[in-house]
C-alpha cells in the first residue's frame, strides 16, 4: 500500500508581497478601500488651504484644513460655525464664521456685532475693530457670515449674506 501526498508549491515571496496569499481577497480589499477613499474625499471631506488674513487669528494664512460636507445633513448651520462657502464652484471657497441665522437682523456698531439689537458675545475675536454698518435683515434660507479679523478695513473684508445652498460644510477643526 502506497500513499502519495501532493504538496502545493509555495508562491514566490515577491508574489506574496505584491498580491498577498489570496489574490482574490486582495482585489476585494483594494476595491473596498478605493470605494471608501472616493466616498470620503468626494462626498464627505474637502481639503482646503486658507489664503488671506480675514479669519485671523483663528486660521492663519496658508494653514491647511478640511471641510466636512456632511456636517449639515442632519441639522442646519449654527451660529459660530466656521464654514466653507463656494465662491467659484468648489475650487475657490470662502472661509467665514456664521453670525446671523435666517430671520436675524445683523449690524455693526463701534466695532461690535449686534444681532437682533443684542450685542453678540464673540470670544474668538482677538483683534480690535471699528466697523460700523446699518443692520441688515437675513432672509429665509440665508446666513450672515463674517471673518474673525475685523481689524481689517471693512471694505476689504468680504462679509454679508450668503445662501444656504452656497455653504458647503463646516471646518473639521
Amino acid at each position: 500500500m502506497t500513499s502519495s501526498t501532493t504538496q502545493a508549491h509555495p508562491s514566490p515571496w515577491w508574489l506574496v508581497v505584491a498580491v498577498g496569499r489570496n489574490p482574490r481577497r486582495t482585489v476585494v480589499r483594494i476595491l473596498v478601500l478605493l470605494a471608501v477613499i472616493v466616498f470620503t474625499w468626494k462626498f464627505a471631506f474637502l481639503p482646503i488651504r486658507v489664503q488671506g488674513i480675514s479669519m485671523m487669528p483663528t486660521y492663519l494664512n496658508n494653514q491647511v484644513n478640511v471641510i466636512n460636507r456632511l456636517a449639515y445633513v442632519l441639522h442646519p448651520p449654527k451660529r459660530g460655525d466656521v464654514v466653507g462657502i463656494r465662491y467659484d464652484g468648489e475650487k475657490v471657497l470662502l472661509l467665514k464664521r456664521i453670525v446671523g441665522l435666517p430671520g436675524d437682523t445683523v449690524g455693526f456698531r463701534g466695532g461690535r456685532l449686534y444681532v437682533n439689537g443684542q450685542l453678540l458675545d464673540e470670544p474668538y475675536l482677538k483683534l480690535p475693530s471699528n466697523w460700523s454698518s446699518p443692520p441688515e435683515k437675513v432672509g429665509l434660507g440665508e446666513y450672515y457670515v463674517v471673518g474673525d479679523n475685523r481689524s481689517m478695513n471693512e471694505i476689504d473684508h468680504t462679509h454679508g449674506i450668503v445662501d444656504r445652498a452656497d455653504i458647503l460644510g463646516k471646518t473639521l477643526r
Partner: protein
C-alpha cells in the same frame, strides 16, 4: 441557489432598464432645465462667420426661451447695470450684441437647479462666462435664473446677478 442569484440579477437588471427608460422618456424638471440652459448657451454663442439670416433666426429662436414679461438685470464691465424688461427689450439687446461684437462664446459653470415643490417654477444658480472676440477680460458673473413652466414649457421669467456674498 445559483438560479436564485441569477433570477435576482435579472430582476435588478430589468428594474435598472425600466428606470433608465423612464428617466429618458420622462425626464424630470431639473434635467429639462439643464437641457434648456445648454440650448440657450448654444444660441447665445455665435462665431464671426454667422450670416445675417442665421443671426436673425438664432436671435428669434433664443427669444422663445423667455416669457413675454422677462426681467433681466446684469452688470456688464465698463458699462452701467443693464436692465431689460420684456421680449422686445431683449430682442434689441441680442441683435445689438450680435452687431457690435464679432463673436461670443458662452459657458455656464457650476449649475444648480432648485425646483419648487409645485414643480411649476424653479431657480437656477449658474456662473456665466462669456468670452468675446474683443480680446478683453471675459465676462464672469454668477446669476440667478428663474424658470416658470408656461404651457408645458420651462421658460426664463427673470435673471439677475447673484453675488455669493451680498
Amino acid at each position: 441557489m445559483r438560479s436564485r442569484i441569477a433570477l435576482i440579477m435579472w430582476v435588478l437588471a430589468a428594474a435598472l432598464a425600466v428606470y433608465l427608460a423612464w428617466t429618458w422618456l420622462l425626464p424630470g424638471p431639473e434635467k429639462i432645465i439643464r437641457k434648456r440652459l445648454a440650448e440657450m448657451r448654444e444660441l447665445v454663442s455665435f462665431s464671426s462667420n454667422e450670416g445675417p439670416l442665421a443671426k436673425l433666426a438664432n436671435s428669434e429662436k433664443l427669444l422663445g426661451y423667455f416669457t413675454p414679461d422677462i426681467e433681466i438685470r446684469i452688470n456688464i464691465p465698463g458699462r452701467q447695470d443693464l436692465s431689460l424688461s420684456g421680449r422686445e427689450d431683449l430682442r434689441q439687446a441680442i441683435l445689438g450684441a450680435r452687431s457690435q461684437v464679432d463673436s461670443i462664446h458662452m459657458e455656464f459653470h457650476d449649475i444648480r437647479v432648485m425646483v419648487d415643490a409645485t414643480k411649476t417654477s424653479a431657480t437656477t444658480l449658474v456662473t456665466v462666462r462669456a468670452d468675446g472676440a474683443t480680446g478683453g477680460e471675459p465676462f464672469v458673473e454668477r446669476m440667478r435664473i428663474y424658470f416658470t413652466k408656461t404651457d408645458g414649457k420651462w421658460l426664463v421669467s427673470a435673471a439677475n446677478r447673484a453675488p455669493v456674498v451680498r
